[in-house]
Amino acid sequence: MRQPGSPVIGLEIHVQVATESKLFCACSTDYIGAVPNTHVCPVCLGQPGSLPVINGRVVEYAVRTALALGARVGKSTRFHRKNYFYPDLPKAYQISQYDRPLAEGGALPIGEGENRKEIPITRLHLEEDAGKLVHSAADGRLGHSEYSLVDYNRGGVPLMEIVSEPEISTPAEAREYVATLRQLVRYLGVSDGDMEKGSLRVDANVSLTGADGKLGTKVEIKNMNSLRALERALDYEIARQADLIRKGESVRQETRHWDDGNGLTCGTRGKEEAHDYRYFPEPDLPALVLPDGFVEKQRDIMPEMPWILKERFVTDWGLSLQDAAVLTELPGLSRYVEDCVREGADPQRAANWIRTEVLRVLNEKRIGIEDFGVPAENLSPLLVKIDRGELSTTLAKTVFDRMVAEGLTALEALEKIGAPSGRLTGERLRNVIERVLEKESSAVEEIKSGKDPKGKKRGFLCGQIMREARGQADPEEVAKTLSRFLGC
């Protein structure tokens, strides 16, 4: 049983599905910055006689998301009309799903170790987005405007609504849930998950457990455009409800808007009576029946889940949880690390270098890893050189900056910097080797008396020589010269 006063949070998340065309017509979904009402047609303007036809890619992406959450995908589902009269909906109804959503059940894992928790998912369904209202008052406030202007470019853009069970206990958990879901849709490539652009919108239902342990009256909060705003809004709302209860007042069931500037939620005066959508089956669309083998095919092309990837980075590579979390945050970054390791770099070395150097460059240039000029196959040889002691970290950073600035490979950059001219060869190299052999005489003895069948000691000596030479010697030449010294 829940403790009296403990928060109960459920989240409804609208995810904009990353398609070229709208959910039920061929208009472009590229509405940001577009001239108003240019991506419209009779279907999304709700003209009589027009008929919706569902976009197959939306179904694919939604099924993939459902599978990633471990939800049950319905073989046959259907659409409903959600009726309400508001100018952002030209048809006066939104095509949505009601009693037979595309998928039900499943869970999203959040947290690590002892704090690991699975948040159960209620359902995932498809629906169309509404248009945008632009308010005409000079101060931009709805209440002061004489009239409103409507842009239907966003109307009909596909959305997946993912509803969690009310089993989130703290604002921090809510934040983690949203962050994990965002990471998931990015890995699946089904949405850009950008909260500020509105591609991922969060509505939260919050209540406080009553003295009898039962659920209290829930309040819906909207308009949180970042993870931080979500956490702040929930903190505020929980405190507000607790305060009301402490004062012996009751919590009113309502929708409240988060005002980020002032850091508070405010109620709307809309009548609750208006939440009567008179759902009925959409007669213009047949049932959504998935072809045989469709779900299995989607399952086959699923990428590795980010939370599994993170675990693998920890167990297989010995990375810290924090390293693994940063490197798996975005699919492009985790691919980059994996490519570096595949090309021969040591995982920990790659992780450190990417977290410090690569992310620094990305932040400075304000670009994503996709636009980064140094591919993994170029970075990897540089990292290998550091590990072999052929390059000091300081010199490697100079080389790296050159690679970034001029798009060079590690070898090209080294040559440009002039590192090869300072290379230790001949007499100078022999001096270095002599010094190392003197210091490591016991290893020399072991090798000479045949106690180093696997060449480990020899490798150790090569490493010491490279270190002594500050990476300025050719490893092959070192090995050859060392053999001559050892006489074997």
């Binding site: 208009c27 009269f85 809309g270 007669p283």
Partner: protein
Amino acid sequence: MAVGEEEVRHIALLARLHVTDQETEPLQRHLNDILEHFERLKGLDLVNVDPFAREDLDATPWREDVACSWEGREEALSEAPVRDGDFFRVPRILEGNDE
């Protein structure tokens, strides 16, 4: 199943219609006439008919995800009751946050 006066007012509110007291009674009658017609349909023997339209489909026909633009935009805008440049203009909205 018949609708009463209260329900007519509620539906009018949902449909954002201003209905006067004089109009309520005739509207109630019209709605009940329609409902009565559906009551008659209920009498049909539909035991072996699937209630779900086209569930006999093996798979729903769907569209390739290809975007193309519609040529009729100008026409649509010019048919609007009030056009305002690139926008449709609608009366001031009396609901929502800032009311």
